[in-house]
């Protein structure tokens, strides 16, 4: 244990000097093998989903043979690794849309839940389907919100459901907040920059103090919001990373193939088809919070290196730090706690203590230090 501590210290003090490129390499020896704060699912007849916010974790369990049309799911709540509650959530046929998808474990499987989310106190759980999101307080279904959102693009506080749609046009907003109580409707709380009407989508992560991190997966601009959704601070993207290329033209060509298919449907009158190609590539694979920091996996253009690029945003200084973790990033996700972050991939699980995320990184421009936009 002492030798691990020494390695962390050496890394913290000497890492910057040894760094090659903008990302600081993390020695494999400082990665800690630590059990997750919920049990590993080893039963192949059970399909399990997990979510963590602060020190609260849930796993959501259902029979694998009912994955396409579950009637109910079991939710177990864990606080700092201790099992505190089990709930049965009755779905009542609300998740009617199933999709058959390739599994990294082999074969194809039809599922109707894509991911889950939990509030910091564990009282509210969201089940994301393929046409709607169901939000439960305790065992009571509070909301059924139509829409399809990628993982990490919905978040929960004790009283609000946040969701972030894909934005390609000025009429949409970056972020909506839906109160869990009353008959309230979703209200828009973040507008896209009118000078940048390219592709946007926010990834969301709730902190244990119920403040919300929102990071644009396409631009890496970031916001810190109160639990009610008020913007408290804006953060400029890290300036030590290269600007991703514009991919509008190649995506337009891909969508043109769809237009040809739609126009060629002999069974219907030729429709009018409008295409909005994505202008840039998504940069964020997963987002979480560790204490007051935002931590994300940046999609790597160098996957063959088998390294995970972690970007860490410091709330108070407003600076970003990039860490290069020697692990496979393909399909990996993050589960943040107050003590550090678990990096969970299909093949391994590592824990990075919060001390590893401390420190500053040289920035390219003066303005980037504590930068905002």
């Amino acid at each position: 244990m002492r030798s691990k501590g020494c390695l962390v210290l050496v890394f913290l003090t000497g890492g910057l000097a040894l760094a090659a490129g903008p990302c600081v390499p993390v020695p494999r020896q400082v990665l800690v093998a630590k059990p997750l704060p919920y049990p590993k699912n080893e039963d192949p007849s059970v399909l399990a989903y997990a979510a963590m916010t602060g020190d609260t974790a849930v796993d959501v369990l259902l029979p694998a043979n009912q994955a396409a049309s579950p009637q109910a799911v079991t939710v177990r709540v864990f606080v700092r690794g201790k099992h505190v509650e089990t709930r049965e959530l009755w779905l009542g046929g609300q998740l009617r849309v199933a999709r058959e998808v390739d599994s990294t474990a082999g074969g194809r499987i039809a599922v109707s839940i894509s991911s889950v989310a939990v509030s910091a106190d564990g009282s509210v759980v969201a089940l994301q389907g393929f046409d709607r999101v169901l939000i439960f307080r305790g065992e009571e279904l509070r909301l059924s919100v139509p829409g399809v959102f990628p993982w990490d693009s919905v978040a929960l506080t004790e009283d609000t459901f946040f969701f972030a749609p894909l934005v390609e046009s000025p009429e949409k907003r970056l972020l909506y907040a839906h109160p869990l109580e009353g008959e309230g409707k979703p209200s828009p709380i973040l507008e896209p920059d009118t000078h940048d009407m390219k592709t946007h989508q926010l990834k969301l992560a709730v902190r244990s103090d119920q403040k919300l991190w929102a990071v644009d997966a396409f631009t890496l601009k970031a916001w810190l919001l109160s639990r009610a959704g008020a913007v408290q601070r804006r953060y400029a993207p890290p300036d030590f990373l290269d600007e991703p290329p514009d991919v509008t033209e190649e995506n337009f060509r891909a969508l043109e193939a769809y237009r040809a298919q739609a126009m060629g449907d002999a069974t219907r009158k030729p429709p009018r088809v409008e295409l909005r190609p994505a202008s840039r590539r998504e940069q964020v694979q997963a987002l979480t919070s560790v204490g007051t920091k935002a931590v994300l996996i940046r999609n790597s253009p160098h996957e063959e290196e088998k390294k995970v690029r972690l970007l860490v945003l410091n709330e108070s200084s407003g600076t970003w730090r990039c860490l290069l973790v020697p692990a496979s990033g393909d399909g990996a996700t993050l589960r943040g706690t107050s003590a550090g972050v678990f990096l969970v991939s299909p093949h391994e699980t590592f824990f990075l203590p919060a001390e590893l995320l401390e420190g500053d990184q040289p920035q390219r421009g003066e303005g980037a230090r504590g930068g905002s936009f």
């Binding site: 699912n41 399990a48 390739d102 990294t104 891909a254 193939a257 769809y258 739609a262 219907r268 299909p346």
Partner: protein, 77 residues
């Protein structure tokens, strides 16, 4: 010279790809919803290069979409 070679190579590549991809399969996945606007059926689709169920080391799963291409609106009036 290289530019011409590149264009020819790209054309051949496109033709090979077109031959490999079966008719109707465009090599991407859709996440669609249908609604009605002013008497027209509107099919809105978000298009990705793919989606997959990722089985993580902890035995839990998550559905990941990857390769966001853009969105389409198809108006049947």
């Amino acid at each position: 010279m290289f530019g011409a070679f590149y264009r020819v190579a790209r054309l051949i590549g496109c033709l090979v790809l077109a031959a490999l991809v079966p008719a109707g399969a465009l090599g991407y996945i859709d996440v669609c919803d249908t609604h009605y606007e002013r008497g027209c059926e509107v099919r809105h689709c978000i298009k990705y290069q793919g989606e997959r169920l990722v089985m993580l080391d902890d035995g839990t799963v998550v559905i990941q979409y990857y390769g966001y291409l853009g969105q389409t609106w198809t108006y049947y009036c």
